[in-house]
Every structure is written in structure tokens, then in C-alpha cells.
Assembly symmetry: C2
Homo-oligomer: 204 residues x 2
């Protein structure tokens, strides 16, 4: 992964993002210096080099405004990975689980999702979550009672409504054909919280 940014570098990165969001163009060194209050354009150059080295941007040499944002927070939309079958014992976002990626605009959902999970099975049909639906999941290892969560039990990943009672947790399906699952609070591994749903009836 890309290494951590210093405060100043983060500010410069934010400044670039803002520029692109506002005008659709990346800023020049001079513009960055202006906005950040540098006296020298080279201060901006230095930061850009640092941002590139750390993997946040790509610099196209000799091209004006040749700053390309990488990875996340692109232009108000993000490429989110679609996770299908999750192999046992493997982190949910591991590459082998990713089927493809889809651009999802920021702000489509109130809470920002981390990845999309392709639902398998019909245990949540009564909550309107069907087999094949994509659910938008925000990564988190805690959740409040009543929230729909992505949880791992015995290395299996499932989507259920979480109910917390005093010392134990219950994972509640939304389908009469399934039984609630009671889990000791210390054995429950929450992977994320359900923050949105996308369904495409025409997706093969």
C-alpha cells in the first residue's frame, strides 16, 4: 500500500483534489504554491514528487497540469471492488475474491461504502435483499444492534441483522426458512455494515 502522508502533504493532495473538483483541471505548480501560500513554485514541486513517490499521484513529465490522481477519491466517484465468493480464511477484500470493479459516485449513499458484496442465498429476502444483489458495505469491526451486518462465522461470510443482548449476539436472518444464529460475543467477527443496495435485474 501507499505510505503515510505528512500533514502538509495531505493538505497539498487535498488542494489538488479541490482544484480538479472545481475546475476539472489539475493545478500547476504555481497555482499550488499560490493556494498553499508558498513563495516558491519549487515547494510545490517537492511535494508533488513526494506524493508521487508515495503512490498517491502520477506525474506526467513535461506536460502541463500533468498530475493524475491515483487510487481513491478520484472525481467524485470511486472504483469499488465487487466481492463474490469469499474463500474461507481469506480477508474479504483479497484480490482472489474480487470479480470486477464498478464506479460508484460518492454521495450515492449516505455512508460511504468500502466495497460491494454480491449476495449469495436468500436468507435476507424479507429485508429486500435478494440472491445476486450487490450490497454496499462499509468496513467496520463494530456495529450497533439492529444494523444489517456482514459477519464471519466459522470462516463463512454471511449477511444478517445484528441483535446485541447483554453478553451475546444474535444474527437474525430475514427469511422464515432460516434460524437465528446465536454467537458468543467474543466469537463474532464483524466485517462491515450494510450501507446500501444495488440491484440490476438484467445482470446475467
Amino acid at each position: 500500500m501507499s505510505s503515510k502522508l505528512t500533514d502538509r502533504q495531505q493538505q497539498v493532495l487535498d488542494c489538488i483534489r479541490e482544484c480538479i473538483a472545481d475546475t476539472g483541471m489539475a493545478p500547476t505548480r504555481a497555482e499550488i504554491a499560490d493556494i498553499m501560500g508558498f513563495q516558491s513554485k519549487n515547494a510545490a514541486s517537492d511535494h508533488l514528487r513526494a506524493l508521487e513517490r508515495k503512490g498517491y499521484i502520477r506525474l506526467h513529465s513535461d506536460r502541463s497540469r500533468g498530475i493524475q490522481l491515483l487510487d481513491n477519491a478520484y472525481w467524485g466517484e470511486e472504483e469499488l471492488p465487487i466481492v463474490g465468493k469469499v474463500a474461507a480464511g481469506v480477508p474479504i477484500e483479497a484480490i482472489e475474491n474480487v470479480e470486477r470493479t464498478v464506479p460508484v459516485p460518492q454521495g450515492l449513499f449516505k455512508q460511504r461504502p468500502t466495497y460491494l458484496l454480491k449476495v449469495q442465498g436468500d436468507s435476507m429476502v424479507d429485508a429486500g435483499i435478494f440472491d445476486g444483489d450487490l450490497i454496499a458495505v462499509r468496513k467496520s469491526n463494530v456495529a450497533r444492534s439492529g444494523e444489517i451486518v456482514v459477519a464471519r462465522i466459522d470462516e463463512e461470510v454471511t449477511v444478517k441483522t445484528l441483535k446485541l443482548n447483554k453478553s451475546s449476539a444474535t444474527l437474525l436472518p430475514a427469511n422464515e426458512a432460516y434460524e437465528p444464529i446465536k454467537v458468543p460475543a467474543d466469537q463474532l467477527v464483524i466485517e462491515g455494515i450494510f450501507v446500501g443496495l444495488i440491484r440490476d435485474p438484467n445482470s446475467y
Copy 2:
């Protein structure tokens, strides 16, 4: 609105869009000329001026790569209107019905939606369409049997599964509490076809 583009101008506009989608940067005059096969940069300049005059782009003078795309089809995503309550006798997309707009990336759904409709009522819960969900609708006045459609009956807009038998049509709810609606084929007005669903559990 902006006036119509010539074929060539449309090609140049497409070329700009592609550039931005690929690299995040607008192209220079020289790059456009290269891609389009012009011998002269000025050919590109001419087209850009035409595109600006017609309201498709904004040119920032004296700034390199200072081409800003305007209005629609920005960067692979479209602003789709969210339609809430639909007033009787009014076209579904009429301005007074639009609550707000949301950017939806092209390709999120197999079929491209025309607008989003905020679902009211629970007549389709068994199909996983809940009160408050946004359904993506592709405008169409025909539909095949079995598809979920947006239809108008007596000036009321509803979402139902369409069943066509010989000479009559039935609009099938997906909730036992509701009755199927039988409509003479000539009285049925189909507004559009359900092509996708977006749910945000945190939307106020």
C-alpha cells in the same frame, strides 16, 4: 439549450471525453490534432471554439489543457433526476416532480436508466422493492410480459409486474395484501421498465 453539433464536432467532443476518462487531463490542441489526424493544431482550435460557442465546453484562455466539459455526460456518469410523488395528469419527468438529482455512472446497470423513481408504498415488497427505495427506470411505452414496469392507471403511477394475456394485461403486485389489477390492453399506459434498484438504509 445548446445547439446541435456536426459529426466532426461530436467526434472532437468524444475525443476530449476519452482523453479525460483515460488520463484525467484534457488534451492539448496538438494532442487533439494527433488523435483526429489533423495536420494543423489550428483545426483543433477551430473545433474547440465551435464547441465553446455551442455551449458544450468552456475554454480557459491561456491555460494549458484548459478545456472544461459542461453540462451533461461529464466523466462517464450522468445526473439522473429523482422523481418522487407524481402529480396526476403530469408527465412523469416534469420538473415539479423532481426532488433532486444523483450522479449515476454509466454501466452501473446493464440497461441505461432514464430517471430514478422513489418508491411509495409496499406493494412490491416480495420482489424486494421497498418503500423509499429508488428504482432506476428506462423510459419505454412497451414492455414484455414478466417485466417489472412503471405504469399509469387512472392518472396514478404504480410499479408492478406486467403479465400479458392475449387481449388484456394484468399488473401484478408482489404483496399478498394487494390484489392484481386487470386492465384492458388499450387502457394501459406503460411509462417505463424497471432496470435497477438503489437502496440507502441511511437515507433520512
